[in-house]
Symmetry: none
Subunit: 216 residues, 2 copies
DNA sequence: AACAAGCGTTAAAGAACGTTAAGTCACTAG
DNA sequence: CTAGTGACTTAACGTTCTTTAACGCTTGTT
């Protein structure tokens, strides 16, 4: 499945059990989750319920061998968006994945402008300018929030010093550059509650926000 | 076997026992390992386990005369990707080799850009910019890492002075050239923990990264 | 052999970044 | 009207990364 979806142009991460799946989910940045119901360490339903506690949006598709109605209902109650009963064809998989993604995209685009970023154990609400971890909310200032948003939008990639200064400060002179460094330090202080999330510097270029899964 | 695979276009290195196999493996740069289970000095299972301790990726195929289930299981537990029971035809060998390589390539290509180079006793993680030897991690700067990556990509071949300067510095003027020489010196200092790994100069042309096995 | 160019290496200088603290400004409560 | 508060900037100092300088050695050429 991973290979097939990869060949179809999706960026896929495959994990062998529910526990590792959760760890990898925590690093954030996923558009869709496909969970097997029968998994070692932690079953798919339990995992889905845990995910839905901190994240209502990311779509989930279940893979299930049991075709019994009871289980299906239980699955959708834990917040699934679709499910596939084994055995299924790759074409069917692709169809459902595409459908769910199309639906999800539509929802986030129209429902509200409410962009929200999942970053390790953090949840960053762009509109409300708050950073949440473990039920604990931290209000961000406008500049803190704008800078963090830009970092999130360039997650794993490079946020150019110049781009950040233009977007947030409107001018990239020396002093604004130093000011930004101060804000980077602030964000690092906030984000250090989850060691898996880091803001890295690329000397002479800019900054990189990365979130690695726990086991890396 | 070595001759056959060589004729089929593979670059093969053949070693007479497990100990020499390990030494040669250490010089790095292999896409696939084929291990005989019954070998003098060090058997295939033991060797595979030692290899898997420092390298999860490189595929391993076992050759075994014993067709007993017990041994097969033990083999896969030490991290084998496939196995061949003697006697077997050359066609069958080629089939399995091709299959394993295709699979491995797929994984490394889709999983993430996470390139990693094995260099003698070193492990060089390109994405994380770290050079690891004996559980000891050394963080590299961007320039150090970029230069070492280029050297790895031209392993045993020639990395042109000009290409390196264009790729890492973006301009090949005199001073950048001198700067690169300083970085070559730094890399040599880091790499001297394993005398089998060397950065050689080709006068007037560029540099060559080589890793020879211990006994060469 | 003599010379120039290329390279090896170390040290110093310079630029970029990390962090803390003090300073400025606007806004608000009393 | 003034003291206080919060957001942002500037200053200051330390650290890290990169470049430049300097000097000696090696290689290739005449």
């Amino acid at each position: 499945m991973a290979q097939y979806l990869g060949a179809k142009g999706f960026a896929v991460e495959l994990r062998p059990d529910g526990k590792q799946g959760w760890d990898t989910y925590l690093k954030g940045g996923f558009d869709l989750l496909i969970l097997d119901v029968m998994m070692p360490m932690k079953d798919g339903f339990t995992l889905a319920r845990e995910i839905r506690q901190r994240d209502e949006r990311t779509p989930i598709i279940f893979l299930t061998a049991k075709s019994m109605k009871q289980d299906t209902i239980q699955g959708f109650q834990s917040g699934a968006d679709d499910y596939l009963t084994k055995p299924f064809s790759m074409e069917e998989l692709l169809l459902r994945v595409s459908a769910v993604l199309r639906r999800a995209k539509g929802v986030t685009a129209t429902k509200e402008e409410a962009r929200e970023h999942l970053l390790g154990r953090f949840r960053f609400d762009v509109r409300k300018q708050v950073l949440i971890i473990d039920e604990q909310e931290r209000k961000l200032t406008t500049k803190e929030s704008d800078l963090l948003r830009l970092l999130c939008e360039h997650r794993n990639g490079l946020l150019t010093r110049n781009e950040a200064l233009q977007q947030v400060w409107g001018d990239d002179n020396y002093f604004n550059g130093r000011s930004m460094d101060v804000y980077i330090a602030k964000l690092r202080k906030y984000l250090k509650d989850d060691p898996a999330v880091e803001v890295l510097n690329v000397h002479g270029k800019g900054f990189r926000l990365v979130a690695r899964s726990e086991d890396e």
